[in-house]
């Protein structure tokens, strides 16, 4: 992916005129947005506004739904991800994803973390162990699970499972981590831990997070995008969005007048 169109090294994603339809229903309308390196970009908006659709388009997971159709461009480091030469499998090793509901495999904790490296061809036991340890440490889970790496992942609590999913994602050594409401199924303490984790991860990764909670967006993000009915209404620094939004609809949403 060495197409030097991107003028700025700091721009990881450059979305240009993205439209998306589910059959006849248009879910995203002319989205233009840039995602910066080593920043946390929050995507907020009421249910059904297209925020999850948008984040799933960035690693083309949305294409698992057969009726989806898109136009426009998403440049990832200058390369259009919809280009025929781009393999989704390769894109997704660079762009990891964490889902709404923790979704570990029904395997051991260790096997969960090394799933990615294994499918990408790493067989060396010692190397896999090293990857597992580093990833679990980065996901702030190592101390809690180091003595039971061979236990089934479903024995962990919900919050631990979600951090395991983050560790599993990190083990593939992505560049970007997409998070689709990663704390919506978790209690406040587990949520707090994940938020702390996101803060510590952003020095090494570019993170884009969809969240239902405006407080969460305000706490953890550097920039915030507000979506409404498939349109990007406003995109700015989080501090601006939450203190001095330019659009009336943004203000109505963040002050709780609807949604």
């Amino acid at each position: 992916m060495t197409n030097g169109i991107s003028k700025n090294e700091n721009i990881v994603y450059d979305v240009k005129g993205l439209n998306l339809w589910y059959g006849e229903d248009q879910a995203l309308k002319d989205i233009n947005l840039e995602i910066e390196k080593n920043k946390v970009t929050a995507i907020i908006g009421p249910s059904g506004c297209g925020k999850s659709t948008f984040i799933k388009t960035m690693n083309r997971m949305i294409e698992n739904i057969p009726i989806v159709r898109t136009t426009g461009k998403i440049l990832y480091h200058g390369q259009d991800i919809f280009d025929k030469s781009v393999r989704v499998e390769e894109l997704r090793t660079k762009v990891g994803m964490v889902f709404q509901k923790p979704n570990p495999f029904p395997k051991s904790i260790f096997e969960n973390v090394v799933y990615g490296p294994r499918i990408h061809g790493i067989k060396d036991k010692a190397l896999l162990m090293e990857i597992a340890e580093t990833s679990l440490k980065s996901a702030a889970l190592w101390d809690e699970v180091k003595d039971r790496l061979n236990d089934n992942a479903y024995g962990l609590s919900g919050g631990q499972q979600q951090r395991l999913c983050i560790a599993r994602c990190l083990a593939v050594q992505p560049d970007v981590i997409l998070m689709d409401e990663p704390t919506s199924a978790l209690d406040p303490i587990a949520t707090f831990k994940i938020e702390e984790l996101i803060d510590s991860l952003k020095k090494d990764y570019t993170i884009s997070i969809v969240t239902h909670s405006m407080q969460q967006a305000a706490r953890i993000s550097d920039k915030t995008a507000f979506f409404l009915m498939g349109e990007l209404i406003e995109f700015d620094k989080t501090s601006v969005i939450f203190s001095n939004p330019a659009d009336k609809r943004t203000e109505d949403y963040i002050t709780g007048r609807f949604g």
Binding site: N59, M61, N64, P66, V88, E89, E90, L91, R92, T93, G96, M97, F99, K101, N103, P104, F105, P106, K107, Y115, G116, I119, H120, C165, R168, C169, V172, M214, Q215, A218, R219, I220, S221, D222, T238, S239, F242, S243, I254, T255, G256, R257, G259
Partner: protein, 314 residues
Amino acid sequence: MNQETNYARKDSRMMMKDINQKLPDFKVNSERIARRVKLNNFLKHVFSMSTLFAIIVLAVLLYRIGADSLGWLNLGFLSRNLSIFPEKAGIYGAIIGSVYLMLIVIPVTTILGVSTAIYLEEYAAKGKVQDFIKINISNLASVPSVIFGLLGLTVFGRILNLGSSILAGGLTMSLLVLPIVVVASQEAIRAVPGFLREASYAMGADKWTTVRKVVLPVALPGILTGSILAMSRAIGETAPLVVLGIPTLILKIPSTIMDDFTALPIQIYYWTLDTVLTPEYANLAAATIVVLLVVLFVMNSAAIIIRNKFQKRF
């Protein structure tokens, strides 16, 4: 980022005005309740009698077979070969025949059946054509076995000139139970939660990797259960083999899959036919039925144990 986080919550007062509305009045009719309680009691008896009826029929059947087989079912019966003299006859050849049959049916149906299920569930584009194929596979599962026998006779027996060999019988049986394996495997694969596939795809796994490392391991107990039940059907089926024209008296123990053979259900069938001339054949048939029932019982128990042990909840 130390933002002021005290944003106003959603205005809930708007919903409050709907809550205190009154329900329309209606009277509780105690006669009606009494009637319904009576009906319930009556139906309870109907249901329990139906169950009892089934159990009694089964018990009578088992008793008669057990009584008939008494004194005939012993180690000698299991280890001797066929004979026209009842007291010298055994089912060793039929057991070997049934085992050979399974050695063909198991690999053929699991490989073809699971592959078909993987294709239909994971690869085939969802649409009308695929639905049509799925419905027809389910329909095939309920086609009478004698029809599969005719198909086997035409294709394997005559066109491919396999006669009434083990291979012809095995392939015919495979066709018969293949739809069952496909449907059971499809259900097992469909029961694997989508979020597990998503997790795998999101790490850059292709479809086959995902199927092999995530979908199949989770679906395996279901596939195994379905396959075992299909095998127990194949082991007990008679009609397709009768149509293929298995000879009545096979004195040679089969040694290759091209040999003629006899199997347990066939032996029961032929012995039952000849009870008029030789009444002791009824005892031989009963003893064989007991053997077959034990085999089926073991297989079905294995299926249930696998299902209960590996059932995963998400």
